[in-house]
Symmetry: C2
Subunit: 446 residues, 2 copies
């Protein structure tokens, strides 16, 4: 890369899609999401036309708070040379995530982490574009030492040392090429969440299950947790449509107490759920451990991670045997840098990583993570599957490529983070054309 290329401008937008008008994406806790993102664009003085784009997923109100968070970070990035960032990425990462005044409003959690992640996603997108490679390939082509140079091991050395991480990466190095070739041919398995949002009627449920089966899906996730009798009825409908040979997962979105989670899942065990996702507060490591212990005899795994705030929490979930499926997210923790540390910890503890996706651009981003995980870290697809949700793809510049219910590796350089130009204009909140029109029609209040 050009040695003197500098970051000269960072722009941030509040982009919202009015998904709540149709009930897509609804669950027991998030009853009316407007799928949204704070969207960062990083520009340099290279004159090569390359921009880094970085979204962080949100669900409507509050996106403007994340935008304010991004604005607070901009002064610490603009003016830097990209070579200085990418050449010692772990040091830059720590400076950004531990800024001496900003860390108070986290630290490393909530709004400031979402904002940091948008900036980091844009930086990684830029790096991959400059390298002329899709993000997963940029990572796969790095040496173990280069990969470690982007990771900050602060607060996790009691679970994973740098030396242990090096050993994991080195052990997989000689066989990387085989797995990469296999991946290009077969892709990485996916599951669908589009069939069973909580807001869907029984008829819609049936229709969507039938359609998904026709498309070759074999793993299905349903939303539960608002009402037990409803859940039983809906699970019956889904099982009657998909049969007993398909995999069914359940997602409660943090609705329960610890004992309630155990009782409720005992009632639903007859439908053979593969996992129960987010049964309780995402912060409750010990609660998840208790549920894991209670549900293990029933063959039900505990899955969580989409709202897990950082590597320190993931570390504890692993140490406490509190999850059996680790659902990494591409927008909540500190970018690829922190994601890598979590994927490496999961490998050490023998827990499969099954990324959270859906929302705005999450499918597009996370597939890069699983590709890397498979080629360089876990070395297997056994028990691994990426979430897939089909809506909003018309707005994405490089939408996921699904074949035979599998994600195919993206070939276009970058992190697949871009929204289409027209969408970036029309859906800016509140001044974009679509929002102004909806307001005029009385469908929303701005």
């Amino acid at each position: 890369m050009a040695v003197n290329t500098k970051i000269v401008n960072i722009e941030v937008k509040d982009i919202r899609f009015p998904t709540s008008l149709e009930g897509h994406g609804s669950d027991a806790m998030h009853t009316d999401p407007d799928y949204s993102c704070a969207y960062v664009i990083i520009r340099t003085d290279a004159g090569d036309g390359l921009e880094g784009h970085g979204p962080t997923f949100t669900i409507g109100r509050g996106t403007e708070v994340v935008v304010a968070g991004v604005k607070a970070l901009i002064p610490f990035v603009v003016g830097l040379k990209v070579a200085d960032i990418f050449g010692d990425f772990a040091t830059f990462w720590r400076k950004l995530t531990s800024e001496s005044q900003l860390r108070w409003i986290g630290p490393e959690k909530g709004v400031i982490s979402l904002a940091t992640c948008a900036v980091l996603n844009a930086l990684w997108d830029l790096w991959a574009k400059m390298a002329g490679k899709p993000l997963w390939k940029l990572l796969v082509d790095m040496t173990p030492e280069q990969l470690l140079s982007v990771i900050d091991f602060r607060y996790i050395t009691d679970a994973l040392t740098k030396e242990e991480a090096l050993q994991i990466l080195k052990a997989n190095e000689s066989t990387k090429a085989e797995r990469e070739a296999e991946l290009m041919k077969n892709g990485f398995p996916a599951y669908t969440t589009s069939t069973a949002w909580l807001g869907y009627s029984d008829e819609t449920l049936r229709e969507r299950c039938k359609a998904a089966l026709k498309d070759g899906w074999t793993w299905f996730k349903m939303k539960i947790g608002a009402n037990l009798e409803d859940d039983i009825r809906r699970a019956k409908i889904i099982r009657s449509e998909i049969g007993d040979d398909k995999v069914l997962m359940m997602d409660c979105n943090q609705r329960w107490e610890v004992s309630q989670a155990i009782d409720w899942m005992k009632r639903l065990a007859e439908f053979k759920p593969y996992w129960i996702e987010e049964p309780i507060s995402p912060d409750d490591v010990l609660g998840h451990a208790a549920i894991s212990k209670a549900l293990n005899p029933l063959g039900i795994k505990v899955a969580t991670g989409e709202q897990c705030q950082n590597r320190v929490m993931f570390k504890q979930f692993l140490q406490a045997k509190a999850l059996q499926i680790l659902q990494i997210d591409s927008c909540r923790i500190g970018g690829i840098n922190e994601v890598l540390s979590v994927i490496l910890m999961a490998r050490k503890f023998g827990v499969p990583v099954c990324p959270h996706a859906g929302g705005v651009l999450l499918c597009e981003l996370v597939h890069h993570l699983s590709m890397f995980d498979y080629v360089c870290v876990s070395g297997t697809k056994e028990g691994r599957v990426i979430e897939y949700v089909d809506h909003l793809r018309e707005h994405f510049k490089y939408p996921s490529i699904i074949k035979n219910a599998s994600y195919m590796p993206q070939k276009i350089p970058g992190y697949s983070t871009e929204l289409k130009k027209a969408s970036l204009e029309d859906y800016v909140y509140p001044e974009g054309r679509i929002w102004q029109q909806l307001a005029k029609e009385g469908k929303v209040k701005l």
Copy 2:
């Protein structure tokens, strides 16, 4: 209270004091804090001139992000009747902290929690003023049932049920009056952090220790964690000044790894520290548990809480025996409502609550919490002490009243949350007089 009184206006200000210019408040992680707050003012249509004031402490940059968080919450509070809020406070609290779109940017952590707390602090201040009582007295005069009506037990019932909380409160009810009378006479013990900030020279250390001894202080806290040899030298200086009969606490402000914390404290054990505060990441429950286990034979307790994000984390710290001193904060978690649930859990687990204070208005606020804890929950002062830091008090309308190194109970109605009118004007960032003047003098860049 007037049945129809409505909240008609909420204002929020970004207030910053340029404390970094003199090194006050510096520690191993927060090297240059400008003590600040997002400051909320709630007004009603009662025509009685009463306003609710609610600060949430920050340390400079990022305050504007918390202000954005408050603005996102305002639409959910303006227009409500105060009787509806205070009459069923737990329900209002859950609606505010679990708003279906806003919860995504937390949930219940970081910026959105700090913002929520500012709003709740203002509501509690308003309630106490309407009742014509200082906040601690408002709480002390409530029946156990009234107290429970403000608490949301979601996510903590595996550690403390509503019924158990009721038993704790009822057990103390008949002897409340004795303790209240005792408190009015003797106050509640305090310790000083003003003697040993990390940025102070050895000479300043000595001077400040001598002055504090003269003022009757017997508990002292020093900041450590940047350099072991420096810490040893500074601890020697402090012990040589205060002697062996006084209590010395140490605070690392999250600088270490788990094993490093244990090693470092073994080296400092000769100075007989009573506790080590925030040795590692505030999110690391299991790490704190490991440190607690290792330091117990040395008689060193583990203290944490000022950056503990919510009741779910405090629950786990208690369940895992990861802290022996619980440092509740008045501005980080969800207001008095959530503080009460934590104080009750601490009582059940037999752990003393020693509030975090200092910063902007924290001393003023937290003393109300300890007064309540003593009279209604713990029933004892044994091993309990409130942090005290003396700077910035010239800006506070109702500064803490310290007598014989003890906090005396505030008698003025409200939650002691108010800044003086002139300070509210002069220190608004960046347009206030003081900041404009400092910029003109080239001392700060706005």
